[in-house]
Amino acid sequence: MFDLLAYTKHLTGKLTAACLVAAAGNSFLRWRSEVDTDLIMSRHSKTRPVAERKLPVGSEEPPAQAKLSAKWRAVISLALMFHLLAVFFAVWNGAPPFSPFPQTVAMPMQRYIGVLNLNRGNRFFAPDPGPSHIIRYTLTMPDGSEKRGQLPDAKNHWPRLLYHRYFMLTEHLNANESEAARKQMFKTYAGEILKQSGADTIEIEFVQHGIPPWDVYMNGTKLDDPESFRKLIGEKYQRQDFMDGGSP
């Protein structure tokens, strides 16, 4: 069941802080831009405040920057610079190869980067579009029949976003360099497939599907050539193997 005490502690420790920062930032910017800026302006001028002096649609308000006091502009500017530095160095550090310079600069910002989940590499299809990774399995059902399946499965996983979620499960499995961590996650997947299918046993393998180079393809090799599949992990599990861990 829901662990209320632990949840409350967690909230006060991390989530509340993140929410407060977000809410405070939100209220602050709103207040500064829409209310207080007008007050500052009206101290020096008898013109109507901006919020009342509405703008024709689609246009901008050229002298608006002059209406924020220098102090508040400085505070907001510092916050913006900190955030942009965090974004830049988080992305730089987000994928290998790693350099000590961005790692050192990002070090004091790690908590901020981690809470906002900024540490993504954004190296889409880089450095090279590589082979993909799939899971193939054979289930033995309680009546003795066998069922084959794979993860992801374009025929059964719809909409495409759901297919891609399963695809990412298998792709990320390959990403971890620790063999022990990879096998643990592999076993977790096997347990979930057993649970969802109601099968007794599962024979499961983690497979890499290579892409034939252009010239090989032009010589007649098919994209689903059996030789383009390479088994990386193969295991057999029974339902009982997961009883201790709660799954299936």
Binding site: F2, D3, A6, H10, A22, G25, N26, L29, R30, R32, S33, K54, L55, P56, V57, G58, S59, E61, A64, Q65, I76, L80, V87, F88, V91, Q110, G114, L116, N117, G121, N122, R123, F124, A126, P127, D128, P129, G130, S132, P152, R160, L161, L162, Y163, H164, R165, M168, L169, M185, T188, Y189, E192, K195, I211, P213, W214, Y217, D224, G246, S247
Partner: protein, 335 residues
């Protein structure tokens, strides 16, 4: 000495002035509103799809058990309220509440509050199932984060519709016209942050590709379209045009690397944004990542001027502009 001193004084003044104009100019929040509408739809859809296998992805004994996920978390500071929900009933309740909030964010009802909640929800979901994340989640988080900083419900929203109705009634009472918008500095800051974040994303996407041999020898496009697991539309017939494939590969790298520079000047901006369309639609159609392709285009919308947004999607309210009012877009630094 005086010459050097003057140079630095001028540099300092120009930097401060440019910085202030870049960040603290109040603008029509039309672009921000449009980005909220589309990003809100994407956030709602993205989270709706989790419903198909909610317990599998977010349950305590699903695809990603918290104990196994420890080895795959990218940061020790990653958090999510979903880690603490252990009962399936509570999980479904939290999920339905999240979907309602995201829908309200999409339509723009109580946008300022919904925007903050939408960001917390987006972050919590992404951090809980980091093994199933990809570029889509990255951009979703980024957009939700910045949308909550500005008045994202000031246009194309239920909030703005209600506000306009109130204003129209008040103005009709006085016999006037209520065709006006409130300019916003926070709206400009939010848009600027999206723009700069997009530049960082494309810069590192391009730099990452420069490390790969296939982007140099031009075979990267072939390796992408020949990947059966990604493929939705079979484009392998393009293997007969290797020169074209390699040109597209080089163009992609050049475009990504130059995006952060060429997207700012007004003359090159339309070209840069126009190239984003085939690139991301290509990813959407041929590589099966429809949501990712679309969300990248939504991010690119941050560079479209509010005047153009009003002209295209809110013609009724842009009548005044057509009559000759200012058409400037908010890019003071590049002007």
């Amino acid at each position: 000495m005086n010459l050097i001193g003057n140079y630095f004084v001028e540099l300092y003044r120009a930097t401060i002035s440019g910085w202030n104009r870049f960040w603290f100019t109040a603008v029509d929040p039309a672009t921000l509103g449009l980005v909220r509408l589309l990003a809100g739809a994407m956030l709602f859809y993205t989270h709706l799809v989790w419903s198909i296998d909610l317990e599998g992805f977010f349950g305590q004994s699903g695809w990603q058990t918290p104990s196994a996920l420890v080895h795959y978390q990218e940061s020790p500071y990653a958090w999510s309220y979903l880690f603490w929900i252990k009962s399936p009933a509570l999980l479904w309740t939290a999920h339905i509440v999240a979907l309602v909030i995201l829908f309200l964010f999409f339509i723009g009802w109580q946008s300022r509050i919904m925007a903050v909640l939408a960001f917390v929800i987006t972050l919590a979901y992404a951090q809980r199932v980091s093994m199933a994340n990809f570029g889509l989640d990255n951009i979703n988080e980024m957009l939700a984060m910045y949308l909550m900083l500005g008045p994202c419900g000031a246009a194309f929203s239920v909030d703005s519709w209600l506000k306009r109705r109130r204003e129209q009634r008040a103005e009709q009472g006085r016999g006037g016209d209520a065709s006006s918008v409130t300019p916003s500095v926070s709206g400009n800051i939010a848009i600027r942050l999206i723009q700069l974040h997009m530049c960082v994303i494309y810069l590192f996407a391009g730099l990452g590709k420069v490390m790969g041999a296939s982007w140099w020898d031009g075979t990267a496009m072939w390796l992408s379209i020949a990947n059966l697991e990604y493929q939705t539309i079979d484009a392998t017939f393009l293997a007969n045009w290797p020169v074209f494939l390699s040109f597209v590969a080089h163009l992609t790298v050049a475009w990504e690397l130059s995006y952060c520079v060429l997207v700012w000047p007004r003359l090159t901006r339309p070209l840069v944004l126009a190239l984003a369309v085939p690139l991301h639609l290509g990813i959407a159609l041929f590589l099966g990542m429809i949501t990712f392709g679309l969300v990248m285009l939504i991010g690119n919308l941050a560079f479209v001027s509010p005047w153009l947004v009003r002209y295209l999607f809110d013609r009724k309210r842009s009548t005044e502009i057509v009559r000759g009012l200012p058409r400037r877009s908010p890019e003071p630094v590049a002007s």
